[in-house]
């Protein structure tokens, strides 16, 4: 219905590889990439041209038959007409690739490389940590926090048993 009308409009390329005159200066060759192209895209369901440009004799006769009543077309002929106009069906063009495996592999590789770089940095670049990380300092810090009753309801000091001077079980 709509498809045949659109196809008959752009079925034959208006300018294939012929040349066009430009303002008396001479002729400019029209390159292939400047002409309407066929491509399979989900968002562009009806491309500008049909896929098969040079029809064989069988296909030409089929196109003639298409101009008549479509009820006379068999299923194979309908599929053949489809394949003249389109390269891949929607199911074919939308199917996934196995690219995700390469992507995951690349991710792991680069994460691993980054890990090696981080290890090297820890060993050769960074200086020592501040004294506040030593055990004695940390013990005094915890004792002071308990003395100050930090978060006595649900948090830090709530877990300390002040009677028995130990952590609650």
């Amino acid at each position: 219905m709509l498809a045949t009308r659109a196809l008959s409009l752009v079925g034959k390329r208006a300018i294939s590889t012929s040349i066009c005159v430009r303002g008396g200066h001479g002729v400019a060759k029209v390159d292939d990439y400047a002409l309407p192209a066929y491509f399979d895209r989900r968002e562009n369901p009806l491309p500008d041209v049909q896929f098969v440009t040079e029809l064989s004799a069988v296909q030409k006769s089929l196109k003639e038959k298409e101009k008549g009543s479509w009820a006379t077309l068999s299923n194979e002929e309908k599929i053949a007409l489809y394949r003249i106009s389109f390269k891949q069906s929607f199911a074919e063009m939308n199917e996934g690739t196995k690219e995700w495996k390469s992507v995951i592999a690349g991710m792991f590789f680069f994460i691993g490389m980054t890990g090696l770089v981080v290890l090297w940095q820890r060993k050769f670049v960074y200086g020592p940590v501040p004294p506040t990380f030593e055990s004695e300092w940390k013990e005094k810090e915890v004792q002071r926090m308990l003395d100050m009753r930090i978060n006595p309801v649900e948090g830090f000091s709530a877990k300390w048993d002040y009677e028995n001077k130990e952590w609650k079980k």
């Binding site: 002071r144 003395d147 100050m148 309801v153 649900e154 002040y162």
Partner: protein
């Protein structure tokens, strides 16, 4: 070849009629779970803590531990 014609209209409406009640129900469940899993126990914990709270005793304990600068521990 004779496939049924696919649904062409009402797709958004169908999706909303399916998903919105579920989304609403899940949101209510999430809110109820947070209320009765987090906020109510927290309110109860605070109530219990302050029921037995002796401010003066706690102050004196903290003073003896030596964390204040305005009051020194008793005895030197």
């Amino acid at each position: 070849m004779s496939l049924a014609k696919p649904a062409m209209r009402g797709l958004l409406g169908k999706r909303l009629r399916f998903h919105l009640p579920i989304a609403f129900a899940l949101s209510v469940v999430a809110a109820a779970a947070f209320k009765y899993g987090v906020t109510e126990p927290r309110k109860q914990a605070y109530a219990d803590f302050y029921k037995q709270y002796d401010a003066t005793k706690e102050f004196n304990n903290m003073r003896e531990a030596g964390i204040f600068e305005s009051v020194r521990p008793t005895g030197k």
